[in-house]
């Protein structure tokens, strides 16, 4: 086994059992899945995406491209979890992915033998034709063979939360720079959030054998973290990845609260944070980059910094005989550290010729690795020495370092482009790429520990100054100041075989050469042609190498070649976290009327109308089909009395000396002339002349109106009125407020409605409450409003009471209605009643209809200006052949009409060019004993009495109809006035 006898930030006294691909292993607290597997001698951890090549762990961080696992069982199974960041918990079940039948014997590795045919652009070239083969044959095969982990296919039972946080200074990353920045800002009294994606604070300080202030660096980090946690103005957030930078100092972050626990004990699994910061200090460190050489993807080949992390932080030797391949001084450190721990180092291979490392192992300068061998893991490597000879070296681990890339990703999230620094052969953040964000330490290309500490402090001081907070001068710890020299070296030239750049998407140096040959030379083209950088690591490992290869091929410099744009998220974010709170009932708010519980108890079938839940129909004993209930309820209203909760209509209370003038300007018809105690129907237009909404407005007092809107338009109409009052006519003395929720409103409709109310209220005859009258009444001592309005065409009233009395009023009204042969009715009956009358809903007021189209031109006042007046007179809107609202009734053998059918002339082919309009609303009318509909028909007002067809091509119905007036029932309106 590979556990080094002592050392590491793990608790060796406790053993945690877990399984990987069914095999039992143990880990210690502090281990990641990757470190535990390495400690147990497991090198093979996955198969690559396309060629199913065996892969081992490459890194020790969130940039890991290879060691992706499925964690958990059943609905809890999470695919594509990076073993390098996944903490092992008791009983964890981990599985490798993208292999069949097992990791060691993957039959789909045959893809690797086919690789000469599967190169870059393969999908584009091969599967162009025959077209129908794509869906039927190619895609299923590719989906089977290529892929990452499997989804569980079950609903995610875990709980996610979302939260907001606000701070003066957000510090991203808890390495030396971040710790110093947070400490300085905290001392100065700033409200600080320090977020780190790791489960312990310290960054590389936990991975290196170095000292800060005379202490082991990991201990200094732990002490600093403890000091920060004691400051009341500092919040330390571990397991928290800042995933995106957005406008206005807003950052997205994911906190993994319970992913590392065997039992979450009710805690949310993850929290998606939105953090608003006045200043941000990016101290995210750097990621090491590999060097491309033939067969550089064999398990056991790892980044040199990761080898050190496994050794120092986890007490794990990544191999027993380790070779190091580097282009920089940092690689030497790996060899030295391993030797100090008693691990055999079989070779240090440095690409540079002008260096002479003083290290007690075989050293090759001016040399390069040109190949590796070994089944399911490296056993030997071939080194081409400075004189051109090739030598074999034994190694079960090859530590590779190609230098470090600053983790500048967040600075690209608002479109910023990084700056190339030749001296460190890396891109660094361009200042001000994100307003009020400063990058420090390794994230800014400053790779020395002391430099990171100083930059972190300086950034915090600048923030304190800007915030006008206390200036502080903390002690600068003693630390290593070595930057480490590097000579750019991206891939080993003049070699045979495949040198891998993108381990996740299986892209090689040759693929980039092919893209260049085929003229996909712009970085964005090259990326899409080869799929480089498009896997879950988003090119963290591969982008720089590919850029460098393309730069060589085009003869341009790297900055001239360009850089791909980094977009959020920095690391993959689970949909569950992004959608926290939005699953199931959380998807949208629900609105309930005051009579909801009563309706449900009565057995009503409910329907969602926007956010509202309303009773659709009330089944009576023996009724098994909605039509039976609906027909009965319609007849009940037409012949006796029906009761319906209409509280969902928008109600807007409008008051002020100028309220009447205001209404004149927003409605097409006059309201300032409306008498107190009267109600008027009104139409409202948009400024472009189209109908916005309709409804009734009652004048309760000289300066007091109550407007009703349709249920769906309540919000938009309220915004529109506020716009008119605040933006167009602020000089008008008028105020308005929505009172939809404050008043319950119930319709009492039918010829016996007056009888019903006479027993409850008293005299509501035509003399005291004429048609379109309104006034205050008392019901059982409760002040109520009574409106003589009708949406059914019958003699009808609506009663409004304060919401708290809604349910009691409903019970009383239904009881009295039932005694008169009536009862409650729902939305289905309400809809039939209004279609029979030709009354409008937003199926007709669809945003394309003018007042003239709806046949209501008489409501356009000529005595005043109003919103939409001028635009409604545009030439095109006056065309007599516009689609106009009519009624339709079947007159042929087919007696059915379907909503949404298109209208065509009797002899015309039902194609778009012949379309004469469409059906907006249909119903079976018990009153007329047949189906009826409302429809828009070109020039329809002039075609009353003609025939036309309503055709539904999807549902195969072709109905010969007569065009009639939309007022099917009681067109003179005598019943409502009765």
């Amino acid at each position: 086994m590979n556990r080094i006898p002592t050392g590491g930030l793990i608790d060796r006294d406790i053993s945690i059992p877990f399984t990987f691909d069914g095999q039992k292993y143990t880990a210690h607290p502090g281990d990641t899945l990757a470190s535990a597997l390495l400690a147990n001698g497991v090198r093979l951890m996955g198969r690559s995406f396309k060629y199913h090549r065996p892969r081992g762990v490459l890194t020790a961080g969130s940039e890991e491209p290879n060691a992706l696992m499925e964690i958990g069982e059943g609905a809890d199974r999470t695919p594509n979890t990076r073993a390098t960041t996944c903490e092992v918990y008791h009983g964890m079940v981990a599985q490798s992915q993208n292999r069949f039948p097992s990791l060691k014997v993957d039959m789909l590795a045959v893809n690797d033998l086919l690789s000469p045919f599967l190169g870059a652009g393969f999908y584009y070239k091969t599967f162009m034709w025959p077209k129908k083969f794509w869906e039927a044959v190619y895609e299923p095969i590719i989906r089977r063979a290529a892929g990452l982990g499997r989804l569980s296919g079950q609903a995610d039972k875990a709980v996610y939360e979302k939260a907001w946080a606000y701070c003066d200074v957000l510090v991203i990353g808890g390495g030396p720079a971040g710790l110093m920045a947070a400490f300085t800002a905290g001392k100065g009294g700033a409200k600080v959030i320090l977020a780190d994606e790791d489960f312990i604070i310290g960054g590389r300080l936990n991975s290196e054998k170095t000292e800060v202030d005379g202490k082991p660096s990991h201990r200094w980090a732990a002490e600093m973290a403890a000091k920060l946690r004691e400051m009341p103005n500092v919040r330390v957030m571990i397991r928290t990845t800042v995933t995106g930078a957005y406008d206005g100092g807003t950052y997205g972050a994911v906190e993994r609260v319970a992913d590392h626990l065997a039992d979450a004990k009710g805690a949310p699994r993850q929290i998606f944070w939105r953090i608003v910061a006045k200043h941000t200090i990016l101290a995210a460190g750097a990621t090491e980059r590999p060097i491309a050489f033939p067969d550089n993807d064999r398990p056991g080949i790892m980044l040199a910094g990761a080898v050190r992390t496994y050794a120092h932080r986890y007490g794990v030797a990544a191999g027993q005989r380790v070779a190091v391949f580097t282009n920089n001084d940092d690689g030497w450190r790996t060899a030295q550290d391993l030797l100090a721990l008693g691990v055999t180092v079989t070779a240090l291979i440095d690409t540079r010729t002008d260096v002479s490392p003083d290290i007690d192992c075989p050293v090759f300068t001016g040399a390069a690795v040109v190949g590796t061998s070994g089944r399911l893991g490296i056993e030997r490597l071939s080194v081409r020495t400075s004189d051109g000879a090739v030598q074999q070296i034994n190694a079960d681990c090859l530590a590779v370092s190609g230098g470090w890339n600053p983790a500048l990703h967040l600075t690209g999230h608002m479109g910023g482009k990084p700056t190339w620094r030749e001296d460190i052969a890396a891109f660094v953040p361009t200042p001000n790429s994100i307003p009020n964000l400063i990058a420090v330490g390794a994230a800014n290309g400053n790779f020395s520990t002391l430099g990171a500490l100083k930059e972190g402090m300086a950034a915090a001081k600048a923030a304190l100054k800007d915030l006008r907070l206390k200036q502080v001068r903390p002690h600068v710890p003693v630390a290593d100041d070595a930057q480490g020299a590097v000579a750019a070296y991206w891939h080993v030239p003049d070699v045979k075989g495949r040198s891998w750049l993108d381990f996740q998407n299986d892209v090689t140096v040759k693929d980039i050469e092919l893209a260049h040959r085929e003229n996909f030379r712009s970085v964005e083209h090259m990326k899409r042609y080869t799929t480089l950088g498009m896997a879950t690591d988003q090119g963290k490992m591969s982008n720089m190498g590919a850029l460098a290869v393309m730069a060589e091929l085009t003869g341009q410099s790297i900055p001239e070649t360009g850089t791909t744009i980094f977009r959020p998220p920095y690391t993959p974010v689970q949909m569950g976290a992004l959608g926290a709170g939005g699953a199931g009932k959380g998807f949208a708010p629900e609105r309930f009327t005051t009579t909801h519980d009563w309706a449900v108890a009565r057995g009503a079938v409910m329907i969602e109308v926007g956010l509202w839940h309303r009773a659709s129909w009330f089944p009576a004993a023996g009724e098994t089909h909605w039509r039976q209930s609906c027909d009965r309820e319609v007849k009940m209203v037409r012949e006796a009395v029906g009761i319906c909760d209409v509280s969902t209509l928008g109600k807007i209370d409008i008051q002020g000396p100028d309220a009447g003038v205001f209404l004149d300007r927003v409605y097409t018809n006059m309201f300032s002339t409306l008498k107190v105690g009267k109600v008027r129907y009104g139409l409202m237009l948009r400024e472009d002349g189209m109908v916005l909404d309709d409804g009734t407005t009652a004048r309760l007092g000289e300066n007091h109106f109550v407007m009703t809107t349709t249920t769906g338009a309540a919000g938009p109409v309220m915004s529109h009125l506020e716009f008119c009052a605040q933006c167009l006519w602020p000089e008008l003395d008028v105020k308005m407020i929505s009172v939809t929720e404050q008043w319950a409103q119930i319709a009492v409709a039918g010829p016996k409605s007056r009888d019903l109310l006479a027993g409850l209220i008293g005299d509501v005859s035509n003399a005291s409450f004429p048609f379109m009258g309104c006034g205050n009444v008392s019901i059982g001592g409760v002040n109520a409003r009574l409106f003589r309005i009708s949406f059914s065409g019958e003699l009808a009233y609506e009663i409004a009471v304060p919401a708290g009395y809604g349910a009691a009023l409903m019970v009383e009204l239904v009881k009295r209605a039932e005694a008169l042969g009536g009862g409650a009715y729902g939305m289905e009956a309400l809809n039939v009643l209004r279609i029979e009358k030709g009354f409008l809903t937003h199926a007709e007021m669809d945003g394309r209809a003018t007042v003239a189209d709806l046949g209501m031109s008489g409501m356009m006042s000529t005595k005043k200006d109003f919103i939409g007046k001028v635009s409604s007179q545009r030439e095109g809107l006056l065309d007599p052949m516009r689609e106009q609202l009519v009624g339709i009734r079947p007159v042929g053998p087919v007696r059915q009409i379907l909503g949404g059918s298109i209208m065509v002339d009797v002899d015309a082919e039902p194609i778009r060019e012949n379309m004469q309009g469409h059906v907006t609303s249909v119903c079976y009318s018990p009153t007329l004993d047949g189906m009826i509909g409302l429809a828009f028909v070109k020039g329809g007002h002039g075609r009353i009495g003609q025939t036309i067809r309503a055709v539904d091509l999807l549902r195969n119905l072709d109905t010969l109809c007569e065009i009639v007036s939309p007022q099917f029932h009681d067109p003179e309106g005598e019943k409502a006035r009765g």
């Binding site: 907001w164 400024e687 933006c727």
Partner: protein, 89 residues
């Protein structure tokens, strides 16, 4: 984006609803069809600063006159639309 509502303070943009150009404040007087055509349909499409109307729908319901850089999303100035309209009279 963060918008500073003069009534409520700085809030996330999701509390607000966007309407369009602040040109909508300048509704023509009288019945000139050409003036209304311009008012209803013609919009500048600037890069950089633009004056816009937003409503604080999840807050105080105030209509706001917001000067915003549409390239960088920087919010440059926020006033009550009512005040801007009255000042123009």
């Amino acid at each position: 984006m963060r918008i500073h509502c003069p009534h409520c303070g700085e809030r996330d943009h999701r509390e607000f609803e966007y309407l369009g150009s602040a040109k909508l404040l300048e509704r023509p007087e009288g019945g000139d069809a050409a003036a209304f055509h311009d008012y209803v349909f013609q919009r500048k499409n600037p890069t950089g600063e633009n004056a816009e109307l937003w409503q604080h729908v999840m807050g105080c319901s105030a209509w706001l006159h917001v000067v915003r850089n549409v390239t960088t999303h920087e919010i440059i100035a926020v006033k009550l639309a009512r005040d801007v309209k009255e000042a123009a009279r």
